[in-house]
Amino acid sequence: MRELIGRLRDIVGDEWCLTAEHDLRTYESDGLLQYAATPGVAVLPGTAEQVQACVRACAEAEVPWVARGSGSGLSGGALPLTEGVLIVTSRMKRILEIDLPNQRVCVEPGVTNISVSSAVAPDFFYPPDPSSQIVCSIGGNVAENSGGAHCFKYGFTTNYVCGLEIVLPDGELVTLGGRELDPPGYDLLGAFVGSEGTLGIATKVWLRVMPAPETVKTLVAFFDSTHAAGEAVSEIVQSGVVPGAIEMMDKVAIEASEQMAHAGYPVGRGAALLVELDGAERECETRFEEVVAVCERCGSDDVRVARDEAERQLFWKTRKAAFPAMGRISPNYFVQDGVIPRTKLPEVLEAIDALAQEYGMIVANVFHAGDGNLHPLVCFDGRNEGEAERAEELSGRILDACLEAGGSITGEHGVGVDKKKHMPKMFSEPDLDAFQRLRCAWDPAGLANPGKVMPTPRLCGEVPGVYRQHPLEAAGLAERF
């Protein structure tokens, strides 16, 4: 390791190679604080060439490494390895190319999500908008296939990445796709986006941007229960409206958020539904009236339409305050990220309620209702003996309920270290084996972010082929019959 550190220092320079304990502590966790590990060394390369040299040095020394963007991930995907290298991309924040006529932007991985939209505003925008968009990096978004509030209509990171320059775990610099759609061959972009840093590290990202919608209309409707609000969601979507965003908060979440955001939300109501329509002016107008009518029909007696951008921002601030606001009502909380088919919303919420009662714990619910992505916040006090463990167990049972409903253990936060133990509940051994095949094709030595995603450590071994091309065949000197 000492020798490797020397090489890394030569590559990135003294200033950007961190080995002192107090420097390394900064990087011991990502956004999921319950996991922490001090990396053996952290490097902050400034260029793709430096990233490549660092990865190659790791490969030669057979030392594993973890890539980290802004460290805002919520699954421990960027949790460092004590005996490994942490490669931090936060210095690589140049926007390399903006081509608006062709609707493309090329950025370095450390560029924040929000600055892509800012760079192409006001006529264009970059749709994926995770709540952490002010800080989270595009490189991290690529690793996690980040979504956000608007992905029900616009899709996820994977729908917007059209090219990547990556460093493979053996140190090769490779370009996948580019500025055009449908590059020849296998869809390696589709495989790489969302691979949680286990297939390589992106050093350049080509993104599609979209024309910014002509108009945006936002409302918040309050209901007596999440059940009634859920009915409204179903009816809105069934009617053919595709809202830009459709978000729900339950009673506990409303109370906590209101304390922080002061938006004048009525504390005590069972559910708040935030619906945003965007698009062409005329279409939006008509559809918005329909949405208001649906909310009223489903029992809302309090529908508030944002009168201007400031009020719209306030609605969103309240929604986005939900996570941080939990800190006011509970010393600690776990966030889950389960997904369910939307029609199962009422029964799964009931199941979560029952579990919360069984465990005697508070569970607040905030979710992307359009796509059935739940974010139950399990509140606990870590100072009480055993409470964290019980909260963890409760979280796991919530995921079980999601899976029973035909859903998934994670909609946008990723598996990371946090949910890998739940993978076998969702995938069989042959399924996991197929995942491992993909990983081995990119990283046979297993050096890129080992210990993440897969439930148990696996080695790649030789290609299990019954047939390999003979060198004579490859040279065209012999054929196989």
């Binding site: 020849p184 296998y186 390696l188 179903s234 939307r342």
Partner: protein
């Protein structure tokens, strides 16, 4: 060979893998590709059921051999659609469409197969039956193997089951049309229309015999008004023979049909490539807002057109057998090396059309 269940398909492939027999997966058999070769044809037409249509959730699970036309009829009955409209053929199956990443005009708004597939089950040459993704529209658990198999042309394994996201069927449609015989005028108009938030379902170009037009289709309650507003914009952009067409199915069917032919070259380009593509002399249909074009041309002109459009990737989709060996564009060499390793891992017996895909994979 025509397995009737996913398990039978996996068992069959295991046997063929052990025998080292080349396998040619086939859905409806509507898109022959690559050099003609010997091999055991494994048909998915015995796996043709619509397994789930979750109306309230806007999702469906289909067996790979299910014809898209049949599935669409079932979705339509509930006011829904799979937003995928490749060149229509009654026999084209969902598995075949996924394997070839085929798409049509709706791609402008809804994306292609890769953007609509939410899960897949595949059978590999060692008999493994593996699933990835799920049946919810948002899911990041595990690797996205469904995307990897989309456009893999059956060279990694056999797709046996596909889960997709559905969309509401538009209540009505209307199309704005504007023409020009100047490729630059057409190109500038396409760039302008693509950069405005029209919320159009489709934005296509149609170029034939030295003249062309743009077609912008809307699918919403206010479709006619949106189309009328677009026609007004087309006037400012210098397009002629402008019209709003409300009964527009035939127009769009024609666009779809022309993606197929005796010799068709698909260009992976940029929005700004439209004039260059029109100037090749070929007949063109394409997604003007995405930079994807299908060129119908004489087989003798393929090499010249490829050279004229270089470095854009040009794939020969339909071609006389003697040209099919040169169907593919070359990927980045580094990417190709990864693809070769992916092929090795997923097709360990190397029976799925070895040598026929990109770069001799």
């Amino acid at each position: 060979m025509k397995p009737g269940t996913a398990e039978d398909a996996a068992a069959l492939l295991k046997t063929l893998g052990e025998e080292g027999r080349t396998v040619v997966p086939r859905g409806g058999g509507t898109k022959p590709w690559g050099p003609p070769g010997e091999g055991a044809v494994v048909e998915t037409t015995g796996l043709a059921r619509l397994l789930e249509h979750n109306v309230g959730d806007f999702t469906a699970i289909l067996e790979a051999g299910a014809p898209l036309a049949d599935a669409q009829a079932a979705f339509e009955a509930e006011g829904q659609m799979l937003a995928l409209d490749p060149a229509l053929n009654d026999r084209a199956t969902i598995g075949g469409i996924m394997a070839t990443a085929d798409s049509g005009p709706l791609r402008h708004r809804y994306g292609g197969m890769r953007d609509l597939v939410v899960g897949a089950t595949v059978a590999l040459s060692d008999g493994t039956l593996a699933k990835s993704g799920g049946k919810v529209i948002k899911n990041v658990a595990g690797y996205d193997l469904a995307k990897l198999f989309t456009g893999s042309y059956g060279t990694l394994g056999l797709i046996v089951r596909v889960a997709v996201r559905l969309h509401p069927l538009p209540p009505r449609t209307a199309t704005a049309i504007g023409a020009s015989d100047d490729p630059d005028v057409l190109g500038a108009a396409a760039t302008d229309l693509a950069s405005h938030p029209l919320e159009a379902d489709s934005l296509d170009v149609d170029w034939r015999d030295g003249t062309g037009r743009l077609l912008v289709r809307f699918g919403s309650a206010a479709a006619d008004q949106q189309a009328a507003a677009t026609v007004a914009r087309m006037e400012d952009l210098g397009l002629e023979e402008r019209a709003v067409v409300e009964d527009d199915d035939e127009l769009w069917m024609a666009q779809r049909v022309r993606q197929r032919g005796a010799c068709v070259l698909k260009v992976s380009g940029r929005i700004g490539d439209l004039p260059a593509v029109c100037r090749t002399g070929a007949d063109v249909v394409g997604r003007a807002g995405l930079g994807l074009f299908w060129l119908a041309l004489d087989p003798a002109d393929v090499a010249g057109v490829r050279a004229a459009l270089a470095p854009r990737a040009c794939t020969l989709l339909d071609a006389p057998p003697e040209l099919r060996e040169h169907a593919w564009a070359d990927p980045d060499p580094g990417a190709l090396a990864v693809m070769a390793r992916v092929k090795e891992r997923f097709d360990p017996a190397r029976i799925f059309r070895p040598g026929a895909f990109v770069g001799g994979i």
